[in-house]
């Protein structure tokens, strides 16, 4: 079974420290291309910037074409107006809670200029004022006057959070979805031979699954898997009186297999295949609570004449914020589960129960 060692952690470190806000995924794409180049049969960057890498299986028989997608982009910011002396107005890219932005350190533009999201300090705020969230319109990105000319309107910015290991946990930005990207790179390096593995490192997932939609059209697969990261709301000090019934997923409980989210009803045959694989190999797994959200599977399964699809995610706390926290063991089990499940796919998987 595939494992997470020093090499994989260093790869994840490089991937999470890289900045790749939706539409500007070049930094992560470069790492991906360098990593997978020598392991693939075909490699291309498509018109939208998706990396499509094919690992052909072995043998003369018919093989399933299995698309596995992970998105390269992350949520972040875009500069929208230059107010001079290093101050910029900005917009959010992807889902970010405006209440979580104030005071955060940033990397801005291609040169990763250090900046901060500034707001009026406590010295000048009234008690009543502090009871309300600060409006997005009153926030600015400040990089200082000397650096103001090194960035421009349209540039992206991300949280300036360095990857850190905390014992058996990881703290980093953009674990959504560098976990998926790192997992997919490992799958390319250890591609199962029973299938044609069609990997898609996708762009623009956080703004509407856009890269996966065109990638799935191009690849025209038989089956689709999305690898992602999903929130764990298992730690609720602000709600410890009652039973937590909306945790989504829990850290330490293993890979999260999706049954339904807002964009996809996972194919029951693929859910069953993943569960059976996990149980036979004694791997932990959890079923993500059915509910909202969406992954690349939401685009893949509706492409062309339809593609049975499923998502597996690594659970992580505090996603879409400056720093997320996750367990290495959950990532390792996710990698092992997906690798094993792909390796056990046969033509029989497509049979309907009726």
């Amino acid at each position: 079974m595939l494992e997470i060692g020093q090499e994989q952690l260093e790869l994840l470190e490089r991937l999470t420290n890289a900045c790749a806000v939706s539409g500007d995924e070049g930094a992560v794409r470069k790492i991906v291309l360098d990593e997978v180049e020598e392991y693939v049969d075909e490699l291309q960057v498509d018109a939208l910037g998706n990396v499509l890498a094919l690992c052909r299986g072995e043998g003369d028989g018919e093989r399933l074409k299995v698309m596995v997608a992970a998105h390269m982009d992350e949520v972040g910011f875009m500069l929208t107006a230059d107010e001079k002396k290093g101050l910029y107005r900005f917009a959010r890219v992807g889902g970010l809670d405006p209440r979580q932005l104030v005071g955060k350190a940033l990397w801005v533009g291609a040169e990763r200029i250090p900046g901060v999201i500034g707001a009026k300090p406590i010295h000048f705020t009234k008690k009543k004022e502090r009871q309300n969230a600060i409006s997005l319109e009153s926030l600015r990105i400040d990089v200082g006057p000397e650096n103001g000319s090194k960035i421009k309107v349209g540039d992206r910015a991300t949280f300036a959070t360095q990857f850190t290991r905390l014992g058996k946990s990881i703290r980093a930005k953009a674990l959504d979805d560098r976990f998926g990207v790192a997992t997919l790179i490992e799958l390319v390096k250890h591609a199962p031979q029973n299938i044609d593995l069609l990997t898609a490192f996708t762009v623009q997932e956080e703004v509407g699954l856009r890269g996966a939609w065109v990638a799935a059209y191009a690849l025209d697969p038989d089956l689709g898997f999305a690898l992602d990261s999903t929130p764990a709301r298992d730690f609720l000090p602000w709600n410890d009186e009652e039973e937590n019934v909306t945790y989504n997923t829990r850290l330490g409980a293993g890979p999260a297999i999706y049954t339904t989210d807002a964009r996809t009803i996972s194919d029951p045959r693929l859910i069953k295949h993943l569960i059976t694989t996990a149980e036979e190999l004694d791997l932990p797994y959890q079923l993500r609570q059915p509910g909202g959200g969406g992954t690349d599977a939401g685009a893949i399964h509706r492409q062309r004449a339809g593609v049975p699809s499923v998502t597996v995610s690594v659970p992580a706390r505090y996603l879409h914020s400056a720093a997320s926290l996750a367990r290495m063991a959950d990532w390792e089990a996710t990698l092992a589960l997906v690798h094993a499940a792909l390796g056990r796919l046969g033509a029989g998987i497509m049979q309907f129960a009726d």
């Binding site: 339904t260 609570q289 059915p290 004449a305 497509m350 309907f352 009726d354």
Partner: protein, 340 residues
């Protein structure tokens, strides 16, 4: 036809889990079909007839799935929390019965703390399956259920769960059977599609339309009515014939298709009404925007209490819907020429 309605409505088929109802429909249509396919998303596609010189490749769609619920959590005392699969309204849930696909039955209640005056949201509701802990609860996260309700005839009206859209499924099956058994001539190559995952976003219809690549598309689905006390402001009434859709919340019918449907109804003296629906949409929307675009229309069976466990249709409307559909399919479609 009533026995078919009863049979199909009682079979569970929540979105994404349509295998039982698909098998039942397949058994009915297979003897009539030239070809039967179940595609990757589970759509049942039945081909009938050959395309003549004046014929079209036509897609007809009625969805197999019905709204349902999916378990999200089993709490310490064995109560099951759930989310909706499709448009599930809390107002129709409380006091309702559900049946999970594994056979487990349950009743829905709500957190009393939130009071009776305000309608609770879905996350304040729970299913009681008679369990006392997760250990003895026969339901787990991800298990799906449908609303349970018996079939009843109230005069000319039929009441049961899932008439949305088993009534459309029955109309398609009956039309196919009549075309086939009565050796009716049709100039068209017809694809009867029994689609999946309509209630969560027309997902099956979109992919099957891509596969079929039709010249014209028609969905057969239910529509709401405006004939109940202080009901929706809407002209459609139960018992006044099939409704020919002009527009709904997601689609504008092709006016040439509407004209063809209306003139066919008039020609055959079949009562009909025009439908303008504010919210909601049907498979026709997904067909319309597939590939390079498809002219579409929709034949609606008027239905009261849509998405409640007690959906009601008028049997005369159902019979007239079959007559209208057969009439539409047996003749050539006037040239769908553009406006000058």
């Amino acid at each position: 036809m009533k026995s078919l309605i009863k049979k199909f409505a009682q079979i569970p088929g929540p979105s994404g889990y349509e295998n039982q109802i698909r098998a039942a429909v397949r058994a009915e249509v297979e003897p009539c079909a030239n070809e039967v396919i179940v595609d990757a998303l589970g759509n049942l596609i039945v081909r009938w007839g050959e395309k003549g010189p004046d014929g079209l490749r036509m897609m007809l769609s009625a969805h197999l799935d019905e709204i349902g619920v999916i378990a999200t959590h089993v709490d310490k005392k064995g109560f099951v929390r759930f989310a909706g699969l499709g448009g599930v309204h809390p107002a129709y849930c409380v006091g309702g019965h559900v049946r999970f696909l594994n056979g487990t039955r349950g009743v829905i209640s709500f957190e009393k703390e939130s009071g009776l005056k305000k309608m609770p949201s879905l996350d304040k509701l729970f299913i009681d399956v008679g369990a006392t802990s997760p250990g003895d609860c026969p339901v787990g996260v991800g298990d799906v259920a449908v609303f349970a309700r018996k079939y009843q005839e109230l005069g000319e009206k039929i009441v049961t769960k899932a008439l949305d859209d088993r009534i459309g499924v029955v109309v398609l099956v009956e039309a196919l059977r009549q075309l086939h058994e009565e050796n009716l001539d049709s100039p068209h190559e017809l694809y009867f599609v029994f689609s999946t995952q309509e209630e969560v976003g027309l997902r099956g219809a979109g992919t099957s339309a891509y596969h079929i690549n039709p010249d014209l598309g028609l969905s057969v689905d239910v529509t709401s009515t405006g004939d109940t006390p202080k009901g929706s402001k809407m002209e459609v009434r139960l018992g006044e014939g099939p409704a020919i859709k002009v527009r709904d919340g997601g689609m504008l019918s092709d006016p040439r298709v509407v004209d063809w449907m209306v003139s066919t109804a008039e020609e055959h003296e079949i009562p009909c009404q025009l439908e303008i629906l504010k919210g909601g949409t049907t498979d026709a929307r997904a067909i319309q925007v597939t590939r390079a675009g498809v002219p579409v229309g929709c034949l609606s069976v008027p239905c009261r209490y849509v998405h409640s466990p007690s959906e009601m249709v008028d049997y005369g409307d159902v019979e007239d819907s079959v007559r209208l559909l057969v009439a539409l399919l047996s003749d050539q479609v006037p040239q769908l020429e553009g406006e000058e």
